[in-house]
Symmetry: C2
Subunit: 348 residues, 2 copies
DNA sequence: TGTTAGCACTCTACCCAAGTGAGTGCTAAC
DNA sequence: GTTAGCACTCACTTGGGTAGAGTGCTAACA
């Protein structure tokens, strides 16, 4: 069967109507509501064909039709119109994002919150995966008799601390020497590179007295580096789904929220997603995502390199055009902002 | 009217039954289910009295009775039995809490998660309010041409960093002098004390060349100190309410989750709560808490001084005895754990 | 041959009425 | 003071009836 012009037009209209109302679309309503120039009977015939082709579904005989995942995919690929954000909305986004920037994490959380507010969907954002982040500074700073702060600074500007209890006595001088040795060894390496091989074994100092100290510190160093690789997941607008009729079913609402509760799984899904603006619809998603949901994500860069992601999750019936544009615009804004941090301006 | 022995016994039985079933309790059921030695008619008379006294309520004439907030208060104050946790549960809590301790925040989050798992309620925990935390160390560390890490270490072991962009040129030596001057001025003060007065104006260096640098840095210093006063709120078990029949109503579930979404308000409520194990029932709570909910919180200490809180929120119909015991035991465990951190063992 | 009007049929949603069951409140007897 | 008995109340369930939106098929039309 051929997906001719008229079928496409009908399908497009059905999808658009269903996205805005959430109600199954019938042939009569369609012909009355839109100027298609054909009668309900003809629409019915075409609908029947479209159903056979897998673009429409049916809950029961006498109900209207709803778009399938396949239909949404067609819609996104072929019909979706790039939606130009109104200037005031653009301004609002820029303003609210740049407003009171303090720390990367805070900005990301803020962005997620803003995104859910604008789209009325559930938003999330993950902080950049730091595996490509370059170590620039390692320092051990005495705190009191038996504890020391291990500070690791990366080129992106992220600083990681760890308060260590040491068994072995130390002096400030010794710590300085060790700091310099560590910095010398690891400066310029990415965190991943630094973690390659057996760090603890490979790190040697010539001075015997310091070997014990190093032995005490190195496992903590490794652990802290590993923790730098963690990404944080922020979410907002969890309760937005209650405004959607499809989530009036308490069981569905519960499943949705429980899915979002599993942050580890969700983080994994987001990290593994491809770069750029990505839309995945219904069954295209991993099995851990509740049915009839779509995800839209975009990538942002820190320092032109590290990749974080920001996006939304909602019912397959979502305003793909608008939402995608907002997310895209937001990720561009984040890119611009994060060009400036990391201790290195653009010429670095 | 007198709240005599028999009335108390009946009330107690009604409360216990309602807590476990969630269904309004009728006189006939009560007399059949429990060995009270009196007939349904007598129970009815007593129930009627108890209702008049404000301990029971009624949704409609032919429904059974439910305890009022006042009844729960009586129950908690007079009937609630200290529930001795079984040893295996105690062991589970201790094990899971001490397991892989890395950072205070992580432990707190973990505790909240464990608490919701055990109680099947929504749990939360706030990190300690740091206003009594004592500054022990301030340091400015050069990062590259135009940025510097400001590091503030407190006695509790909390370390705060901030990457600063400086307008004014600097040398490592100058930063060291400034670090020492700052440490000299603020070491031993609590964060609150440090923030008193106009820090920026009051901080002076003799060396003129450094005044510009100080001017550049001090506002950031203040901001970072202020951020150290923030408390973090962690929650878990948000979806646990879906297992409770009273939250089958989508509107109630929504209100509950929206309340929890307002983290700022919730944090304020928790911070302002009294110390020790506190139970607040229904209307005793602030207006920002959804109706028919009870909160149980306990305090934990870090370094014997800083106060954090951990607790649960759930329907007024909750197992007060068991839940209170679990929270109490957990807070004791946290106390024990946090005695050891902070760079100062108990004799400090 | 494609399009359309007409019609029978289907299924959900809603309303209404009757019946059921758990519970109350009152009264009179013990 | 306690209890049995009884009338009454109210939510909940069940079943029938109806309206409304929709489909699928067929026959007529352009």
């Amino acid at each position: 069967m051929d997906l001719n012009e008229r079928k496409l037009k009908i399908l497009h209209t059905i999808i658009a109507d269903f996205i805005s109302t959430g109600e199954p679309v019938g042939s009569r309503t369609l012909s009355k509501k839109y100027e298609l120039g054909i009668s309900p009977a003809t629409i019915r015939n075409e609908m029947s064909d479209l159903e056979e082709m897998g673009f429409l579904t049916h809950t029961h005989t006498s109900a209207g039709r709803m778009p399938s995942d396949k239909a949404y995919r067609l819609y996104v690929n072929n019909f979706m119109q790039k939606y130009e954000l109104p200037n005031e909305e653009k301004k609002e986004i820029s303003d609210k994002l740049t407003g009171n920037f303090v720390e990367l994490d805070e900005t990301i959380r803020h962005a997620a919150s803003l995104l859910s507010e604008i789209t009325n969907l559930t938003s999330f954002a993950i902080t950049p995966k730091q595996d490509e982040d370059i170590l620039s500074y390692i320092r051990l700073i005495p705190l009191d008799n038996n504890s020391v702060v291990l500070m690791i600074v990366a080129k992106s500007g992220r600083v990681m601390n760890n308060v260590l209890k040491l068994e072995v006595p130390y002096t400030e001088e010794k710590l300085n020497i060790l700091s310099k040795a560590l910095t010398y060894d690891y400066k310029g390496k990415t965190i991943c590179e630094a973690l390659e091989g057996d760090i603890i074994k490979n790190f040697n100092t010539d001075i015997i007295a310091m070997q014990f100290l190093a032995k005490d510190i190195m496992p903590n160093f490794v652990r802290t580096l590993e923790r730098m690789l963690d990404v944080n997941l922020y979410m907002d607008g969890l309760t937005n789904i209650f405004a959607l009729p499809e989530y009036n079913d308490i069981y569905k609402a519960k499943s949705f929220l429980e899915m979002l509760n599993n942050k580890d799984e969700l983080t994994k899904i987001l990290v593994n997603r491809e770069h750029g603006v990505i839309i995945t619809i219904g069954d295209e998603n991993s099995a851990d995502i509740v049915p009839d949901c779509s995800l839209i994500t975009a990538t942002y860069h820190v320092d032109g390199k590290l990749l974080g992601k920001i996006g939304v999750i909602g019912p397959t019936r979502m305003k793909y055009g608008e939402v995608t544009s907002v997310i895209e615009y937001m990720s561009e804004n984040l890119n611009d902002m994060f060009k400036l941090i990391g201790g290195s301006k653009k010429d670095d």
